[in-house]
């Protein structure tokens, strides 16, 4: 029953949007009716999504999708997250988020009505494209042809609280760019000359970017403790796909900051708006077509791939075509020679676009090579590390001083203080690393990170009157975001450059000493949980003869899908993570791998600060 409701409301939602677009040529809707139509389509899409979720919650195995991806013994939260843990459901989630954005955008006031209508019409067209894709190739409401009592289970690796919320947050980021895209196209169509659209675009771009940041970080954190490889970023194709719209979005948010009447910037913003959403759809295509191998690959299907490739082609091609034909003529060239905020931001934008293109090339290169030569290659960490990072470094350097540059003049306030600060920090880091282990990337990263934080603090203190209220927070918000980046850079540098890996073969009761921590493998236990069997090694961590931690690491065995997952045990300290992996048992000994990951927590703290400042930025008028 719920499947029927779900399908009918989905089909209705698409039909309403088709009706809206066709009838819009003949009927001049007044604002209220127009909004009503848009919102009813949103409501039906969301209803459709919740009926699928309901089918999952009650384990309705007469729905083929539920049968394939769920199991009655699964805990409730994973039944719910099972809704989007598969191709069909995740596409429906995609569409629902598109509808939610449309709904909220339809509430926007203080906007040229013609412009708003145009934006919503483009949003509706996107809804139709993706809606048809779901109905024809990825219908989650198919009826199961056989009567069964039990489902086939969900990929156990996806049974994790972090991963349950990772896709919705990530999609909220990806799909949010649709509004930015629609705004840009609508702006080109209506030749919108007033500046309102910049503020409106800024808000939506910032919301999307903030969600995307959170989504990527959640996925990364999940990979860190669930995959059990000791790292948090693997340059997996799907990670790259999310990084591209993230960087492009970053460029967009920054361009919007300075787009006060500069024609060329307007052009650039429109370009970035189209690019961000194009990259999001491209990412959806790459993941959903199964064209790339990665931990995210679901069963692939060529017709599905071609359909979504077509959507990507239509959306992106349409976007850039309109841009080509209707883009505003630039009038005022920017003076790049002066050292001011505008030129710093322009240079940063250029660097970010180069970085995006570099990642794009590395991501699609295997496809091109395989088509041309039939060889299968994979482009991994070494390529990205040695290309993307050097491109980003000058950007990071600029970013530390950009907020203090003035908009027009060449003067820098307190220039001497900053130069002095930079020299002192560089010297300190150099001496410190000379006394411990010297590593070029390590030194560079540390100097950058500490410098960004210090420079941001100097400018907060020297430029604003400190009083404790929200207004101040809004004013210093860019600095706060940059402090977050600085902290994350320190975390990224230390955890990748200075990490250590130790292997042991241990029996119960054995003790080892790693750095200053005494670690004892106390006990190995096997227990039966609701839908899996758990093997856990219990480690006691002792420092200065005091027990400071008790960490469980091990593996889970899921009988329904016959899969084993690694459950890393992580002992968090502010300056490092001790990361335990339990391997195979041989001759009464357990193979234990221990990573010392310094300053990993800084990455998550940095990201949290960025997300926080993203939301503060949204509130800014």
């Amino acid at each position: 029953m719920s499947s029927l409701i779900g399908f009918v409301s989905l089909a209705m939602a698409v039909l309403i949007n088709i009706y809206l677009i066709v009838s819009n040529f003949f009927i001049k809707y007044n604002n209220k009716v127009f909004n009503l139509i848009v919102r009813s389509s949103s409501f039906l899409t969301i209803l459709s999504f919740f009926s699928l979720m309901y089918a999952y919650i009650i384990s309705d195995f007469s729905n083929f999708n539920v049968f394939q991806n769920s199991h009655s013994e699964k805990p409730l939260i994973y039944k719910i997250s099972g809704t989007w843990g598969n191709h069909e459901g995740s596409m429906l989630l995609w569409l629902s988020i598109l509808s939610i954005y449309g709904f909220f955008f339809s509430q926007t006031k203080k906007i040229n009505l013609q412009f708003k209508k145009q934006t919503l019409l483009i949003q509706s067209s996107l809804h139709i494209l993706f809606g048809l894709f779901i109905v024809f190739t990825s219908n989650p409401f198919l009826v199961n042809s056989v009567i069964v009592k039990e489902g086939l289970g969900l990929n156990p690796i996806l049974q994790d609280p972090g991963l349950a919320i990772h896709p919705p947050v990530l999609y909220a980021g990806y799909v949010g760019y649709s509004i930015v895209f629609s705004l840009a196209i609508a702006g080109l169509f209506t030749n919108n000359d007033n500046e309102d659209w910049i503020f409106i675009t800024k808000r939506w771009a910032l919301i999307s970017w903030t969600f995307l940041t959170g989504g990527i970080a959640l996925g990364s954190y999940w990979a860190y403790y669930e995959l059990g490889w000791g790292g948090w970023w693997f340059w997996d194709p799907v990670e790259n796909i999310s990084l591209m719209p993230w960087i492009a979005g970053l460029a967009l948010v920054h361009s919007l900051l300075m787009a006060k009447g500069e024609q060329i910037m307007k052009k650039w913003i429109i370009f970035l708006s189209i690019l961000c959403f194009s990259l999001s759809v491209f990412g959806t295509f790459l993941v959903r077509s199964g064209i790339l191998t990665s931990v995210h690959s679901f069963a692939s299907d060529a017709s599905r791939g071609i359909f979504i490739l077509l959507i990507f082609f239509i959306v992106t091609g349409f976007g850039f075509l309109v841009f080509l034909l209707k883009s505003p003529e630039s009038s005022k060239p920017i003076n790049f020679l002066s050292i001011n905020k505008v030129s710093a931001l322009v240079i940063n934008n250029i660097l970010m676009i180069i970085a995006t293109l570099t990642i794009l090339l590395g991501t699609i290169y295997p496809i091109i090579v395989e088509v041309l030569t039939n060889d299968r290659i994979s482009v991994g960490g070494p390529y990205f590390n040695s290309t993307v990072i050097p491109i980003m470094i000058p950007g990071f350097l600029l970013m530390s001083i950009a907020p203090i540059l003035s908009w027009q003049t060449n003067r820098i306030k307190n220039a001497r203080l900053y130069v002095l600060g930079f020299i002192v920090i560089s010297l300190l880091v150099l001496i410190q690393s000379y006394l411990s282990t010297f590593n070029t990337w390590g030194v560079l990263g540390l100097i950058l990170g500490i410098w960004i934080i210090t420079a941001s603090f100097i400018s907060i203190i020297s430029s604003y009157k400190i009083d404790y209220n929200f207004r101040l927070l809004q004013k210093i918000n860019p600095h706060i975001a940059h402090i977050g980046v600085g902290i994350a850079i320190i975390g990224i540098t230390c955890s990748s450059v200075f990490k250590n890996e130790y292997d042991f073969n241990l029996n119960e009761g054995d003790k080892i000493l790693i750095e200053d921590a005494n670690i004892k493998l106390e006990k190995i236990e096997i227990s039966n949980e609701v839908n899996y069997q758990a093997l856990r090694a219990n480690f006691l961590i002792e420092k200065d003869k005091k027990i400071v931690g008790n960490i469980k690491a091990g593996k889970n065995y899921y009988p329904v899908s016959k899969m084993i997952t690694t459950e890393a045990g992580i002992f968090h300290e502010w300056h490092r993570d001790i990361y335990f992996i339990v391997g195979e048992q041989k001759n009464n000994n357990w193979f234990i791998k221990v990573y010392i990951n310094p300053f990993v927590s800084f990455i998550w703290i940095g990201v949290l600060i960025m997300v926080f400042s993203g939301f503060v930025g949204v509130t800014k008028k």
């Binding site: 370009f271 077509s289 199964g290 690959s297 060529a302 088509v371």
Partner: protein
Amino acid sequence: MNRLIILSPLLILLIICLFALIYLLSNKDPSKPPSALINKNVPNFESNSLYEINNIIKTQDLKNKKVLINFFASWCVPCKVEHPLFFEISKNYPDLFIIGFNHKDKSDDAKKYLSEDGNPYNFVGVDSDGMIALEFGVFGLPETFLINEKGKIIYKFMGPLTKEIIKNEVVPLL
């Protein structure tokens, strides 16, 4: 010049879409990498018959025979789908020796499955702990291998066979 810059995103888009389309149409599937075992010797194995514990089959027994090896299990739904096709193969190619390895299964379940759906195999080997599948690099059930008279693996297919695949890919090798 300016026009060219604005045109470039469209050009890049076209190139990407073109390559992606060729890739999709050429039926390449990244989740199915070419097997490293193709043109290699059959891995060493030893397995007893499902019906008779003392009846043992070894790698050496496959010499001078064309052999088709299929990994299956009673719990594997797609195996059930491809199952009837083996009757056709065995009818059309009586010289072909067809081995079914019963993978990680209970012997009673397997016997019941073969009595209900029929037994197209010349020999049903037991692989209860999955070690033989491991040697063959089996990724998931069902999986089918073709071995020539010299004991080399000449073909491998992951997933359920279909009539088209048998006609286009398996038959030419028989």
